[in-house]
């Protein structure tokens, strides 16, 4: 009897679990599994980065002879630079401690290692590190997106170009608008008044009006659709997000 109706029981069980998790009643269980999941995902993602490097080596194989000559020259230059570097390293350590990344020193940045990318970017920092849903994630001064879900040791970050993401932005000329994620690394700039100036290659940054830190880089304009019959101009933004060889990002927990 149970075997015959097993599928119905399991559907009901899934539904119950879904309800319980909606009310965050399963968080403690999910936190218990984080350690195992992180230990599985971390090496896989690192392996993926290694594979990307290997692919690049294969791509460069025909230029090997030229590269070897260049390497000899670079070795000589390198010797000279090593000396210079020693002096600069000491200086740099002090600056890095103070600045970390080019953002105001009042920001509290939590470093988080990338565990994987699918629709969301998953990182190995969670509630334990003080991360909460909605917090912005950055790489350098490029805005990546906001924290969508958090467990004790993991967080998922909704990318800026996700269809559920909308933020207020301004261009390098001071024109205000709103971004709307289009998925697949594409972002639309909307609600730009017809009278406001908008040009190709204008940089887009956050305004700081919607709770996000101001002046975080979003991308640059690559296409403008200015149909005079509509009240607003529209544009397409090319995102500055590039995580191809990145292992670490930062989450801003306090502004």
């Amino acid at each position: 009897m149970i075997k015959k109706n097993l599928i119905y029981y399991l559907i009901a069980l899934s539904f119950i679990l879904l309800l319980l998790d909606s009310f965050k009643l399963l968080n403690s269980f999910k936190s218990q599994t984080d350690r195992i999941i992180i230990s599985v995902k971390k090496p896989v993602y690192t392996g993926k980065l290694g594979f990307s490097t290997f692919r690049e080596v294969l791509r460069q194989y025909p230029n090997l002879k030229t590269l070897l000559e260049m390497q000899a020259n670079l070795k000589r230059v390198n010797e000279e630079l090593i000396l210079k570097t020693r002096v600069l390293t000491d200086e740099n350590v002090t600056f890095r401690k103070q600045l970390e990344i080019p953002l105001p020193s009042s920001y509290k940045l939590i470093p988080a290692q990338i565990l994987g990318t699918s629709r969301f970017l998953e990182v190995d920092a969670g509630e334990k590190e003080g991360i909460k849903p909605g917090m912005p994630a950055v790489l350098g001064n490029v805005y990546l997106g906001k924290v969508a879900a958090v467990t004790e040791s993991r967080s998922s970050i909704m990318f800026l170009y996700d269809r559920e993401m909308q933020i207020q932005v301004k261009t390098s000329r001071g024109t205000f608008g709103e971004t709307s994620g289009q998925g697949e690394k594409s972002i639309a700039l909307e609600k730009v008044l017809q009278k406001d100036p908008l040009f190709i290659d204008d940089q887009i940054v956050t305004t700081g009006l919607d709770g996000l830190p101001a002046n975080l880089l979003i991308g640059k304009i690559v296409y403008i659709n200015s149909d005079d019959s509509t009240p607003y101009k529209q544009a397409k933004i090319e995102s500055f997000i590039n995580l191809d060889s990145e292992k670490m990002i930062f989450i801003i927990t306090a502004i």
């Binding site: 899934s14 599994t33 999941i37 879900a149 993991r154 998922s156």
Partner: protein, 142 residues
């Protein structure tokens, strides 16, 4: 057999949750339930839960979707495993569209095309390579 199935699903989950923005696990579930029917229902439930944990989705959401997929697949199992690829491919097209809209919030022709291709390849690969598990011979045990 259970080891092969588990490894297959687990690889799918890791790839989907870590490397690609593509419902690979759904494709595996659809193919295997089309062929094996209700026998792998508990496995489908567990796989759904594991995928939820790996992708930080609400616990139960993927398993619910997969179980409903299984429920439909079981009802049309004769057609699905008839050897005619049209039925499983049509089924996966509808499922992927729904799944992409619900879980990935996107409607992507390329992803759909890739899904159909992967399904066809998997179907042929699994039934040829493991006929005793996935092929027609698996059903001739009477």
């Amino acid at each position: 057999m259970i080891v092969i199935l588990f490894l297959l699903f687990f690889s799918g989950i890791i790839i989907e949750s870590t490397l690609i923005n593509f419902p690979l696990t759904l494709i595996l579930v659809t193919i295997l339930t089309s062929i094996r029917g209700e026998k792998i229902v508990p496995l489908v439930f567990i796989i759904g839960l594991v995928l939820d944990l790996f992708t930080l989705n609400l616990l139960g959401s993927n398993s619910l979707f997969f179980l409903l997929t299984t429920w439909v697949a079981v009802r049309y199992q004769k057609k699905m495993s008839s050897g005619n690829l049209f039925y499983p491919l049509s089924f996966i097209t509808v499922l992927m569209t729904l799944y992409n809209l619900i879980f990935y919030k996107k409607f992507d022709y390329l992803s759909l095309l890739a899904g159909i291709t992967v399904t066809a390849i998997f179907f042929l690969f699994l039934t040829k390579l493991f006929p005793h598990i996935f092929g027609d011979r698996a059903k001739l045990k009477i």
